[in-house]
């Protein structure tokens, strides 16, 4: 009831006094997609490209992506760099510390399938998808900042398409 009583105030604020009608789903999805705060989780070479993407030329902020140092404030892990067997439990732990809804981008060959360390390495985890669920894979060694940006835009589109019902089931 409260909202309906206040409606005149809201409508006056819109130019021409109109009304915007939309589904709750769209509002939530838009909000989620446009403020994907990512966890600063860089382990190896790809982290340098992640830094470049966050810095002046590529400007991650314009996608609404701001880095956070703690998992509790983050919506997204960009796993940038090799995950070794020693590091894998830590990644899982960080993932568990994040609040729902949470997402993971696997950046670079290493996080997809071990990358250049697939053969002959005794200590590299061959892909992170058996540690945490991955939403988006970005290939490259390292991926260029443009591909990281594109991957994030695709992720945003994926979020915008999600159904509220699926989201609740998780």
């Amino acid at each position: 009831m409260g909202v309906i009583k206040k409606l005149p105030i809201y409508t006056e604020k819109l130019p021409g006094g109109g009304l915007i009608l939309t589904s709750l789903e769209t509002v939530i999805n838009q909000a989620q997609a446009k403020s994907l705060w990512y966890l600063l989780f860089g382990t190896a070479c790809c982290a340098i490209e992640l830094m470049c993407t966050g810095a002046s030329r590529y400007d991650f902020d314009r996608l609404g992506m701001i880095f956070r140092a703690t998992p509790r404030q983050a919506d997204l892990i960009i796993a940038a760099g090799t995950i070794t067997k020693k590091m894998a439990p830590r990644l899982r732990r960080l993932y568990d510390q994040m609040a729902e809804p949470r997402r993971v981008i696997a950046m670079g060959g290493c996080t997809i399938k071990g990358g250049p360390f697939y053969y002959d390495s005794y200590s590299v985890e061959k892909g992170i998808d058996h540690i945490v669920p991955v939403d988006m894979y970005i290939p490259g060694c390292p991926p260029r900042p443009e591909s990281l940006l594109e991957g994030c835009i695709h992720l945003q589109e994926k979020i915008k398409k999600q159904k509220l019902s699926d989201w609740q089931e998780k």
């Binding site: 070479c45 830094m51 005794y122 200590s123 060694c141 390292p142």
Partner: protein, 367 residues
């Protein structure tokens, strides 16, 4: 009333901590805010590069070396090629040597610019990070137009370099040098006299020269403590003896000196690049090296001066097409060993400044 008592407690810093530049974990024992014991735990990025190199041919080792110290990947490539050339006694063409020097020095500048940005960010200033990485992009563009990669170049090969520079390289390079020279003034103006910067850095984390020597510290960290030791001058490799440049040193060995020294080094490296561009001869860029490169049996330890100290590689060959053993040595490995010595008895916030000023990156430590 219960008796008041104090107690030491243990804090885990890392392995995922934004100011450990990667995945280093420090177990700190604190008394109040004072650090009384530091135990570094490494190995979170141990990727077995040495084992991988043993199962690759010499040419295939170079991309692996790129991942060893990715911030200055050119040095690693140069190092490995140099060691292999020493083993097989290959003459490198003149032009290739000049191109190598240009790339090595540009890469050193790029690395120091990252240091400038990241250190300032650790201490709490975000603007220098944006500035430093902006100028670095100019250098990365140069690499990209030459070899097509931004970070892991695979450009310097055994016997020379993989491609000649494109014609637009030289004007663009001179322009970049000019911009960086101008911007360096801005950088200095931003931090050198900044009171917060001074308080956070001056007199913090003093590394006495004899301690540095005992722990095998090298590079800018040692030179900031007053030891004039630079492999480019003292054990010259490539064609560094042809250029006219200074080795800057500082006296105090604290975080502030280490920072100033790196800015001085950028200026010297800019000079070297300019001199190399002026003297760049025409000619071949690669010696004839068969694709089945097999150096004779033997062993060699090669080293270069990197932006983080001595970068070395030991190669033992048994005459086959794969090396028998490749051992990599990075300056950060020793710098991290010395951290418990100079980091105790300071505050946690100072520890962050010290860690940043030592410019430790973890792939060099863990390999």
């Amino acid at each position: 009333m219960a008796e008041l008592r104090t107690e030491e407690f243990t804090v885990n810093m890392g392995p995922h901590h934004p100011s450990t530049h990667g995945v280093c974990r420090l177990i700190l024992t604190l008394s109040g805010e004072k650090v009384i014991k530091i135990v570094p735990v490494i190995g979170y990025l141990h990727r077995a590069l040495e084992k991988i190199c043993e199962n690759r041919t010499y040419a295939q080792c170079i991309p692996v070396m790129d991942r060893f110290e990715y911030v200055t990947a050119m040095s690693c490539e140069y190092l490995f090629s140099n060691a292999a050339e020493k083993l097989a006694e290959i003459e490198v063409p003149e032009r290739a040597e000049y191109l190598r020097v240009i790339m090595l020095e540009l890469n050193r500048i790029a690395s120091h610019l990252i240091f400038y940005g990241v250190t300032a960010m650790d201490i709490g200033a975000l603007t220098p990070f944006l500035y430093g990485l902006r100028e670095r992009e100019g250098i990365i563009d140069l690499f990209e137009m030459t070899c097509g990669q931004r970070l892991t170049y695979n450009y310097i090969r055994i016997g020379g370099v993989s491609k000649d520079i494109p014609p637009q390289f030289e004007p663009k390079c001179r322009e970049t040098i000019k911009t960086i020279r101008e911007k360096l003034n801005d950088y200095e103006g931003l931090l050198n006299e900044n009171p917060i910067w001074l308080v956070r850095n001056k007199g913090i984390g003093v590394l006495p020269a004899d301690l540095g020597i005992a722990y095998g510290v090298s590079g800018p960290v040692l030179r900031a403590s007053g030891v004039k030791y630079d492999i480019r001058k003292d054990d010259p490799y490539s064609i560094y003896d042809r250029f006219d440049f200074e080795i800057p040193t500082r006296e105090n060995g604290d975080c502030y000196d280490r920072y100033l020294l790196r800015l001085d080094e950028i200026k010297q490296s800019l000079n070297i690049v300019e001199q190399a561009l002026d003297a760049l001869p025409e000619g071949d860029i690669k010696a004839k090296v068969s694709p089945n490169f097999k150096p004779p049996a033997g062993e060699v330890y090669a080293r270069v001066e990197n932006s983080r100290g001595e970068l070395g590689v030991y190669i033992q060959s048994d005459g086959g097409k794969k090396p028998l053993r490749v051992k990599m040595r990075g300056g950060s490995f020793n710098q991290l060993q010395v951290l418990p010595e100079i980091g105790t008895d300071c505050l946690v916030a100072d520890l962050v400044a010290i860690f940043a000023s030592l410019d430790i990156i973890l792939p060099e430590v863990d390999r």
